[in-house]
């Protein structure tokens, strides 16, 4: 077990333990949050590490302090990623790794702590879809296997719908869609 003594060492310590899936997952999430400059989470992450506690335990603690909806969503992604080949009885492969990473990044980039929990489902041939129903509005985000494009579907209160595409690096479109889901 590796001990950490200062917050600045957290990333390095977790990076050294990449063999452990939990630590690796946390590292990816942490790196993304850090890049996004998410003050609430990064502030917490910077202050939480406890001297003498191993990196694996730190990772578990970090996940435990994420918003409930995000923790549940990340668990759903992990569960989908663990599905074996032919998970749908139609010969589909397991979740594509790029799609998995993009799903985690997308979810972690949502800046609302009290966001409605999504339903997350795999798509045949390796993709993944994140779905919300909120106040009679619906939003679907489809992460295409092996791609950094996201397909979206907005369904308004009157059941009219519109669809489109945006890039994973286009945070403006994503935030606009999420804001629409919350307040219309």
């Amino acid at each position: 077990m590796t001990s950490i003594t200062a917050s600045a060492e957290l990333v390095d310590v977790i990076a050294e333990s990449e063999e452990a899936p939990t630590a690796l997952d946390n590292l990816r999430q942490w790196e993304f949050l850090e890049r996004q400059g998410r003050r609430a989470f990064t502030r917490w992450l910077r202050t939480t590490p406890t001297p003498g506690v191993d990196a694996q335990s730190q990772g578990i603690t970090m996940l435990a302090n994420l918003p409930l909806w995000l923790k549940s969503a990340l668990a759903d992604v992990a569960r989908i990623a663990a599905l074996p080949a032919n998970w749908d009885s139609y010969g589909s492969p397991p979740l594509n790794e790029i799609a998995r990473q993009n799903a985690v990044k997308l979810l972690a980039s949502i800046e609302y702590e009290d966001f409605p929990p999504p339903s997350i489902v795999p798509i045949s041939e390796g993709g993944l879809q994140i779905e919300w129903q909120y106040n009679r509005r619906e939003l679907e985000l489809e992460i295409v296997a092996g791609s950094h494009q996201v397909l979206f579907l907005k369904v308004h209160e009157d059941d009219s719908a519109e669809e489109g595409t945006f890039s994973m690096i286009d945070r403006g479109t994503l935030q606009a869609l999420l804001a629409w889901l919350r307040v219309g």
Binding site: I80, I120, I123, Q129, E131, R136, E142, L153, E163
Partner: protein, 138 residues
């Protein structure tokens, strides 16, 4: 429909009224309550296949027990062939040695269409989430 899939030729020996069955695995949250209709509905993800070839079984050539053979806890949903055709997708017979009822819906199904297809779907077997023993055969 994605124009790149226009090479598929619809098989008109399959009537519009043919029920096309799609299995829904129990391992993921494909079935959710629809707040607008107060019914259980499948996720539109059930009808999205990123290859543009959605496997289905022709209802007239199979039975529930055959289609669900070897699976456990699966639900089964039906969509009429005409629902796909009306949106520009081809329905093609694709019999397999072990499954003569197999067919394909060809063309990448758009998100709007997937949602419309979901609304047109009817349950043949419904395993409600978190209630594996509560099976409704319709």
């Amino acid at each position: 429909m994605d124009e790149s899939n226009a090479q598929w030729v619809d098989d008109h020996t399959i009537p519009d009224s043919e029920g096309l069955w799609r299995r829904i695995p129990p391992s993921v949250s494909y079935i959710a309550p629809d707040a607008k209709t107060n019914t259980w509905r499948p996720s539109s993800g059930v009808f999205i296949d990123q290859r543009g070839e959605l496997s289905v079984n022709r209802a007239s050539l199979t039975m529930v027990e055959q289609t669900l053979a070897g699976t456990q806890g699966y639900s089964l949903v039906e969509v009429k062939a005409e629902v796909f055709r009306a949106r520009g997708y081809a329905v093609v017979a694709d019999p397999l040695p072990e499954n003569p009822a197999h067919a394909l819906v060809c063309g990448k199904i758009s998100k709007i269409h997937a949602r419309e297809i979901t609304r047109a779907a009817t349950w043949i077997v419904l395993h409600l989430p978190d209630a594996a023993t509560d099976t409704r055969v319709i």
